[in-house]
């Protein structure tokens, strides 16, 4: 055994150890009590894998400076970012991971693939990595509201078309180019189409569907890393990448189920085409507004209150006053719970993070299945900036575009307060009959101000 192959053997053994740590880490990350430790284990796994790889690299100084540069930038962003900006942050980091695999595939292409299988892997890894990269950047820009381009605009259409062109071109690159000499530089064309196609993949997807897209891109970045592992014959890349791919996939499925839509419907159809048919069934009627002081009187005598936050709470930055209201209610002897719909907000679990930031303990956060059966015992359900996830059309109107979507059935509570800026409809563009129900009271205005008003009423 030569010295070099001995090092490779040792590295491979350490990679096994690191893979086990990754598996343990991600398992622990899935439970509340062990999550912090799980994240630490997976970071440790990464540290071990990277360190053992570094011992025989060709030019350690260049690479270490790359790592150091990335460490400084990454840490800076991670420690500075506000909790409300987490969705776009995750999207951005995800994009960088995708870019790294894209570059790996690019570099491997230049070292001339040996066989057809390698060629296929290079093209596929390049494509998934590239789409993850630019797709995540668009998701980042959309979430941080740096770009606002309508689904119907010509720019969206151009990029979407490029995305659809890029798919057959990928197949062409995989299956035709190895056997035929092409008259043009097909690889450069593929690079460009991939990057532009990624933009076209995410650009038409609306804000309320973002949880699905982010989960999917997350899954892609893992799959791309696993493919890069196949390409480089590296076990730890395959294991870690697959774990990420699987977790992203699970989240994607959970999100799609929570909207009762198929993944392809979310990605390629969207709500816009289906919502036109629903306008006929619009149920109009009188809405009953309520003032802050009247709302206070009802809340004060309530013995159980359920708070349902939505994206509007995030926009209004109302999570801190909401927590304060919850605490005041509890001091008043009221039982307070939070009903969190899986797709409320712009990423999976968005509401949970916001409320955790405001110091709401996670054991009072309940899922729809937990709160729906006991809904008629709830005195007041307070809906803060949520709309589609409490829309009773989902259970009552078979013609509605959101029919069948699991919702939080607040309309079964004794009284419902809906905090809203105006009467506009939610992301799905569907009118919400909840607003016209007998037991619903509308509290118009900015959520933060309204709740703040309630809080000061309680304090007086």
């Amino acid at each position: 055994m030569t010295f070099l192959s001995e090092i490779t053997a040792i590295q491979n053994i350490i990679y096994i150890f690191s893979s086990i740590l990754f598996i343990t880490g991600i398992k622990m990350l899935g439970k509340e009590d062990t999550a912090v430790k799980g994240n630490f284990f997976s970071a440790l796994a990464m540290f071990v894998a990277v360190s053992i790889t570094l011992i025989d690299v060709v030019n350690p100084i260049v690479l270490l400076s790359g790592i150091a540069l990335g460490a400084v930038i990454g840490s800076f962003i991670a420690l500075k970012v506000k909790m409300t900006s987490i969705p776009e942050m995750v999207a951005l980091f995800n994009g960088f991971g995708g870019l790294a695999t894209f570059l790996i595939a690019w570099s491997e292409f230049n070292s001339v693939p040996e066989n057809l299988f390698q060629h296929i892997l290079v093209m596929t890894t390049l494509y998934i990595g590239g789409v993850t990269f630019t797709g995540s950047l668009v998701a980042y820009a959309k979430l941080s509201e740096k770009i606002k381009i309508a689904k119907t605009s010509i720019i969206t259409k151009i990029f979407t078309t490029i995305f659809y062109i890029s798919l057959p071109f990928l197949l062409y690159s995989i299956f035709v180019t190895p056997f035929m000499v092409t008259s043009f530089d097909f690889f450069t064309v593929l690079l460009i189409l991939t990057l532009l196609g990624g933009i076209g993949f995410v650009l038409p997807i609306g804000g309320g569907d973002m949880p699905v897209v982010i989960s999917l891109l997350n899954s892609f970045s893992g799959i791309a890393a696993a493919f890069a592992g196949l390409l480089l014959l590296n076990n730890v890349l395959i294991v870690a990448g697959s774990l990420v791919g699987a977790s992203g996939l699970i989240l994607t499925v959970i999100m799609a189920k929570a909207m009762n839509r198929s993944i392809s419907n979310i990605l390629f159809v969207g709500y816009a085409s289906s919502s036109a048919s629903s306008s006929s069934s619009e149920e109009q009627g009188e809405v009953s507004p309520i003032s802050v002081s009247d709302a206070y009187l009802i809340l004060e005598s309530a013995s159980s209150v359920l708070i349902i936050p939505g994206y509007g709470m995030a926009v209004a930055q109302a999570q801190h006053v909401v927590r304060e209201l919850g605490e005041l209610l509890e001091d008043n002897g009221t039982e307070v719970k939070y009903g969190i719909h899986p797709v409320a907000g712009r990423m999976p679990g968005h509401m949970n993070v916001l409320l955790a930031e405001a110091n709401v303990p996670y054991d009072v956060l309940a899922e729809p299945d937990d709160v729906n059966p006991t809904m008629d015992a709830v005195d007041v359900a307070v809906v803060i900036g949520a709309n589609d996830v409490v829309n009773p059309s989902a259970t009552e109107e078979p013609g509605s575009p959101i029919y069948g979507m699991p919702i939080i059935e607040v309309h079964n509570a004794k009284t419902v307060f809906v905090l809203k800026r105006s009467m506009s409809s939610g992301f799905a563009g569907v009118q919400n009959p909840l607003f016209f129900k007998q037991n619903t009271r509308m509290l118009f205005g900015d959520a933060k101000e309204s709740i703040g008003g309630l809080v000061s009423e309680f304090k007086d």
Binding site: I23, G25, I26, K27, G30, E32, A35, G38, N39, S42, A43, M46, A49, V50, T53, L63, G66, L69, A71, G74, S75, A78, L79, V81, M83, V90, F93, N94, F96, G97, L99, A100, L103, I104, S107, N110, S111, N218, G222, A226, A228, L233, N235, V236, S242, L243, V244, A246, S247, I250, P342, P348, G349, V353, A356, E357, N359, Y362, L365, E367
Partner: protein, 90 residues
């Protein structure tokens, strides 16, 4: 070819393992799980480190791959940790 079949075997088993491990994650943890998984996908860093360097172009590509993967790794783990620290029981 045999190597690829073996590695493909590892790939399939790992995906299956991942699906089994994370199937029942509480919705409280959706965001941290995603951001933690995102940090793990920075494992591409290991791939970027072992890239072959036959040309200047490849050298440059490797450097950028390492840098971006490293942003993903450090940013991802730190932000996940920050988030998880906020989750408290009553």
């Amino acid at each position: 070819m045999e190597t690829y079949i073996l590695l493909g075997f590892v790939l399939i088993l790992s995906i299956y393992l991942g699906l089994e491990l994370i199937a029942k994650v509480p919705s409280t943890l959706h965001t941290p799980l995603m951001s933690g998984a995102n940090a793990i996908s920075g494992i591409a860093l290991v791939g970027a480190l072992i890239l072959s360097r036959d040309s200047d172009l490849q050298n440059t590509i490797a450097f950028f791959a390492v840098t971006f993967a490293s942003i993903n790794v450090f940013g991802g783990y730190l932000v996940t940790n920050r988030m998880l620290k906020m989750f408290k029981k009553k």
